[in-house]
Symmetry: C2
Subunit: 348 residues, 2 copies
Amino acid sequence: MQRKQVLRKLAFLGLIGLIGASAALTLTSLALPQVRAQDPLPSWNEGPSKQAIVSFVQKVTDKSNPAYVPPADRIATFDQDGTLWVEHPLYAQAMFALERVHELAAKRPEWRTEQPFKAVLANDREAIARFTEQDWAKIIGATHAGMTTEAFHDIAQEWLGRARDPRFKRPYTELAYQPMLEVMQYLRANGFKTYIVTGGGQEFVRVYSEQVYSVPPEQVVGSSIATKYEYQDGKPVLMRLPKVFFIDDKTGKPMGINLFIGKRPLAAFGNSGGDREMLEYTGAGPGARLMMLVLHDDAKREYAYGPAEGLPDTKVGTFSQALRDEAKKRGWVVISMKNDFKKIFAWE
Amino acid sequence: MQRKQVLRKLAFLGLIGLIGASAALTLTSLALPQVRAQDPLPSWNEGPSKQAIVSFVQKVTDKSNPAYVPPADRIATFDQDGTLWVEHPLYAQAMFALERVHELAAKRPEWRTEQPFKAVLANDREAIARFTEQDWAKIIGATHAGMTTEAFHDIAQEWLGRARDPRFKRPYTELAYQPMLEVMQYLRANGFKTYIVTGGGQEFVRVYSEQVYSVPPEQVVGSSIATKYEYQDGKPVLMRLPKVFFIDDKTGKPMGINLFIGKRPLAAFGNSGGDREMLEYTGAGPGARLMMLVLHDDAKREYAYGPAEGLPDTKVGTFSQALRDEAKKRGWVVISMKNDFKKIFAWE
C-alpha cells in the first residue's frame, strides 16, 4: 500500500510481435497434441525455470524421496503485483486510488489546493511519481476508509468491472500472467495450498482473488487498515479507519506469513525487493525449497524494467542488481519473461 | 490474552455420577446400534440444541432450500476456552504462563520483589485472581516473548506434553468437549471450514489445534504479539517481542474474522461476553445462521459458573445474565452442558 516508486515509466510500448508469437503457438499445439495434453505448464518454454518447478514438485510429492513433504505442509506463497499480473506503469490498486480521488473531489473542494490531492487532480504525473509513503497513506486514507467493509467491497468490485488498463485496453483482472496461473494450478493439483502474499491491500485483492487466481479470500495475506466494530441502525458493521494496521511488504511478508498461515512456505514467488525477505524465510527451512523471481525483460510483450533496463536500480521495491546478486548466491531461480514465458496472457 | 477475571473459583468438584452415566451410555449404544451409526452427534442428548444444529446444517446444504449456501461460504467459528475445552479454574495458557514464571525465576532474582511476579512466585491465588490486564501483559511479555517463533512452539509443545489439569489429572489436550468435537466434524463433513477464534494466544493454540480439534494452524485466529524479522548466524528468524499486536476478543473477534478469513461466518459458537460481538456479527448476515453459547451448568461432570451459579455476573468475559438475555432476544441457542451433553470427554 505504501510502496515507493509506485510510478515507473509511463511509456506504453507497442504490440509488435504478438501476432507472430500467437501463430507459432498454434502450430506447436497442432504438432504436439499428446505432449501438450500431459504438460501441466503449457505456457512455459522448456528451460531451467520450468525444469526447476517440475523437479521441485516431483521431489516433495514423492513418498520415496527424502525431500517428501506431507500435503498439510505444502504451502506456496505468491507476491501479486509484477509476479502474478502487470504492475507497470502503475499497479491496479494505485489506479483505483487515484481515480477515486477524482470521483470524490466534488465533495472535497479543499483538495484543489491541498497536496497530495492537488497533484492527483491536476494529473501531474511527475509529482505523483515523487509521492512519499506519507502521501500515499493520505490517499489511501481518503479513498479506502470511511465506509463499511462491505461497502468497500462493492466500490472496488464496481471499479474493477469498468476500469481498463491504458495499454492493453482490458480489465485489470485479465492481466494475470498465464504461466503463473499454470504454476498455481499445478501446485494445487499436487496438494499445495496457494496463498497470495501482497504488499497491496488485502481487502482489495480479496475482491477478485477467487475469480482471477482461484485463491479464496482467506488465502490472501496483504496490507490492511484498522477496522472498528460499531452499530448502524442496530446492525453491527466493521468500519474501515484511515489508519494503517499492517504493512505486508519486505520484512512484513515473513511476519504476515507467520501471522496468517503459521507455516513456513515450501515455495515462494516474487519479483522485487519487497519479496526478498519472503524468499529468504522460505529458503531458510530444511529440505527442498523453491524460490523464484519474475524478471521483467520483455519490452515487446509486456515491459522491461529493473536490471533488464541495463541500468543499476538500487531503489527498494524493485528488482535491483543487488537482488539479482542475492538470487544467484542463494540459488533462487530468475524467471525471464522473454525466454521462459511462451505466452504471457490467456487471451493472446 | 489480556482477559479479565482469568481466575475463578479454585474449588475442585468431585467426579460423582460419572461412573453411572458411563454405564448408561454403554447400554444405549448396545440397544440402538443402527441409530447411533447414523447419528453424527452421538454424544448429544436429543433436545433443542442438537435439533438446532442438525436442522441448520440440513437447510444450508440442501440445494432446493432457499437458505442453501455454497461450500466456499460455509464458515463456522469456535471460541476455544470454555467453548471447546475446559477453562476452569484457570485456562491452560494462563497455567503455562504462571508455571513459566516459576521456571524462569532462577535467572530473574528481581522478580522476588517485583509485582506481578512476586505474587506468582508466592502462589498467592488471591492476588493472581485480582491481576489487571497490565499485570497479565507483563507476565505474557516475560514468558511468551524473547525467543524465535520456532523456539516458542517447542517450549509450548514440551509443556503441553507434561502439564496436567489439577482436577482431571490429564493433559489439557484431553480436556476438549467430545460433543463440540462432533459438531466440528459434522460441519466439516458437510463442507464447512471450521475456525478457532480465540482470545487466547494464536501461536499457543496452533501448537495443538490439529491434534485436538483437527483444525490446521492456518485456521486458528487468536491474539498475537508483534514479531521482528532478523538474522541469527546468517539465518532469518522471527523474534517474538513483548508487545501486543492484536487482541482477538470482544469487538476484536469480528475484526479478526474479517482480517483472517474475509467472510462472515454462517455459524458461531461461544460461551462468554468475549464472544458476544462474534455472535452478533454472524447473526447479522442474511439467510440461515446458527449462534450457540455453551452454558457451564454441570458442577458434577465439569463446572457451574456464570448465571448457572445463581448469581448475577456482570463482569466482562463471563456468561452474564445480560448475555443470556441477549441470547434469548436474538434467538441464540444456549447449550446446557448438563442437559445437552450425553458425555463431556472422549475418555469418560
